[in-house]
């Protein structure tokens, strides 16, 4: 049993190792343009992973995840441009501010379920968006903040790419560990049967609040990485349209799998970059892509593949026992 598990882990691990190696050698193989898109895809994937901690594992759809992403970005941008703060401390502050707002927003949101949870997160997200959008003196309003530069060490695109990559791998690893810890199993139990979990003496609201804060922290970290990467930030980063992106990525790649949202975000980011080369009608392509996934690949790409694989394995097993 144990060896079999180890074997399957190795089997699962090889493509992961391959991908990590590929992403480390990527700067030598691809142009600066595609490297920038790869960096964007990694940052957005971190946002998608944070979203899916709530959606795929806690079972609640947040339509306001971009608010924490934007808060992280704005914190870094303002600290760097207005106070000339230390870069590394700014990153931590961005994550911290996002978590703090996650705590406040989450305190209210975890009382609700389903569609009401989605709408309340949307409302809080829009609230934060409007405050930043309209508070011109403090945040720069719709102009946003320009001239957000990383330190000398990370100024070159390749250096910043490696920085993003390392932060992404470390964050993904932490999220993976959280999901596969007893805490993560409790989350899944709550999703499947909240009543029974509560009877076991588990405080559902507290667990969900902790999860909400963790998700907000990683979304904030993603935003904090973004502002120096893009050299600027604008209120659009908090808007509900932005919040829709991780939702689409998760549905596209498969919310029941850990790497589904990452795959979804990579597809979206690269299709976006490709499509913008000849048309501005990105939304219609995205919309059609979502409909295709919903109708033809229920469960998303990885979720659908996993389901098919499981069916095949079950069929193989049953035929083996019959013969």
């Amino acid at each position: 049993m144990d060896t079999e598990r180890k074997g399957s882990w190795l089997k699962r691990g090889w493509w992961l190792a391959l991908l990590i190696i590929a992403s480390f050698v990527a700067p030598f193989l691809i142009s600066e343009f595609y490297l920038a898109i790869l960096g964007e895809a990694l940052i957005m994937s971190l946002l998608a992973l944070s979203f899916n901690l709530l959606f795929g594992y806690m079972g609640q759809l947040s339509f306001g995840q971009a608010a924490f992403y934007g808060l992280g970005g704005y914190t870094v941008a303002m600290l760097l441009t207005k106070l000339h703060f230390n870069f590394w401390l700014s990153l931590m502050a961005g994550t911290g501010i996002a978590s703090f707002f996650g705590l406040i927003v989450g305190y209210f949101c975890v009382r609700l379920r389903g569609i009401y949870f989605a709408i309340l997160t949307l409302a809080f997200g829009q609230l934060l968006f409007f405050i930043i959008y309209k508070w011109h003196d403090f945040t720069g309003g719709d102009d946003g903040i320009q001239g957000v530069f990383p330190p000398e060490l990370l100024k070159s695109p390749v250096a910043y790419y490696y920085f993003i990559l390392i932060v992404f791998i470390a964050s993904a690893f932490i999220l993976w560990r959280i999901i596969h810890s007893p805490f993560g199993h409790t989350l899944k139990a709550m999703r499947e049967n909240p009543e029974r979990t509560e009877f076991l003496g588990i405080n559902i609201a507290r667990y969900q609040l902790i999860t909400f804060v963790i998700a907000a922290a990683f979304a904030g970290l993603a935003g904090a990485l973004w502002a120096p990467f893009y050299r600027s930030i604008a209120p659009f980063a908090l808007m509900w349209v932005k919040s829709g992106e991780p939702v689409m990525a998760a549905i596209l790649g498969g919310p029941t799998t850990f790497f589904g949202p990452v795959l979804g975000m990579f597809i979206m980011t690269f299709v976006h970059a490709y499509v913008l080369g000849f048309t501005h009608f990105w939304a219609v392509i995205m919309g059609i892509m979502i409909l295709i996934i919903i109708f033809l690949l229920p469960g998303g790409i990885l979720g659908f593949a996993q389901e098919k694989l499981k069916e095949r394995r079950a069929r193989l097993n049953s035929s083996r026992t019959l013969s």
């Binding site: 959606f55 759809l61 209210f108 009382r111 609700l112 379920r113 389903g114 569609i115 009401y116 989605a118 709408i119 309340l120 949307l122 409302a123 809080f124 829009q126 609230l127 409007f130 405050i131 309209k134 508070w135 011109h136 509900w240 349209v241 829709g244 939702v247 689409m248 549905i251 501005h280 009608f281 990105w282 939304a283 219609v284 995205m286 919309g287 059609i288 979502i290 409909l291 919903i294 109708f295 229920p298």
Partner: protein, 293 residues
């Protein structure tokens, strides 16, 4: 603060509330019966406004041109409603609500680009139609008479929907289906047929409201998102699927917006979300809604 300023804000809030009710009532009705939160409802409203503009421009009939254009646009939107329900939603009722929500979100994205492609990003406007071009004096203060037209239309819709939902046989079915879909189906009433017509009614009203919104404000890209977020606030405050709730919600949101703009224009929308958050925390299912499960 003098009386005339307060009264002025109150009346503009009522007009805004009436327009919100026109749009939100369809959203609420659809949710109440189909249990689908239609993200694209605001997009249908926006598309209705643009189509009204084009038909009005094409017809250029004096006096009644705008009204004909609005009605035709509403019919077009009803047709789009049929397509949406028949080809998309109908296939998703058995799935979870996140997929339904996302499918309507996909329609929102598609309509956004369709409008961008068809009309460009310009601001369009329709002049106020006759006989609502002037002002009406109330207690000696002037108000745009078109606002009264919107308010009267809102009230007419309240009466119509009340009659439809509480006084007709279809209304009995609607209320029964909102309560227990399977039981209604067991009584031999074709649920898919009911769902199509409710959805189409919602789309028709949304398209109509879009046309009516033309002379009220500007017709522009982004009016879909603006209205749908406020409509979410309306139905959440009032209670999803509840007609009196939607009416009260529209009134509250209209007033909060009108007085919020007077107090601090930048934060008018923020105030709406604050009210919504407070209601959701105290009564998650809204003032007139009933608790889920």
């Amino acid at each position: 603060m003098s009386f005339d300023v307060l009264f002025n804000q109150f009346m503009s809030g009522v007009a805004r509330g009436a327009l919100l009710f026109l749009v939100a009532s369809g959203l609420s009705l659809t949710f109440g019966v189909l249990r689908v939160l239609n993200f694209a409802h605001g997009s249908i409203y926006m598309l209705g406004a643009f189509i009204t503009y084009s038909i009005w421009k094409f017809l250029l009939i004096p006096l009644v041109g705008f009204y004909i254009a609005t009605i035709l646009a509403a019919l077009v939107m009803a047709g789009i409603g049929i397509i949406m329900e028949f080809f998309l939603l109908r296939r998703l009722y058995a799935r979870g609500w996140p997929e339904q929500l996302l499918a309507t979100y996909a329609v929102l994205l598609i309509i956004t680009d369709l409008v961008k492609w068809g009309w460009g990003g310009e601001f369009l406007s329709i002049p106020r139609p006759k006989p609502f071009t002037g002002a009406i004096f109330l207690f000696g203060f002037p108000f745009p008479s078109y606002n009264f037209f919107v308010i009267i239309l809102g009230l007419a819709l309240v009466v119509f929907l009340w009659w439809l939902v509480y006084k007709t046989r279809l209304g009995d079915i609607i209320r029964a289906a909102a309560h227990d879909r399977e039981m209604v189906s067991a009584l031999g009433i074709p649920i898919p047929w009911l769902f199509t017509w409710i959805f189409v009614l919602g789309a028709l009203i949304a398209g109509l409201s879009g046309g009516v919104a033309g002379p009220y404000g500007a017709i522009a890209l982004g009016m879909d998102i603006e209205i749908i977020v406020e409509c979410f606030a309306v139905v959440v405050i009032g209670g999803m699927g509840s007609l009196p709730g939607t009416l009260l919600g529209s009134f509250i949101v209209g007033q909060v917006y009108a007085f919020g703009i007077m107090y601090k224009p930048e934060l008018a929308l923020a105030f709406i979300f604050m009210v919504m958050a407070v209601v959701l925390i105290i009564r998650p299912w809204g003032i007139f809604g009933r608790a889920e499960r």
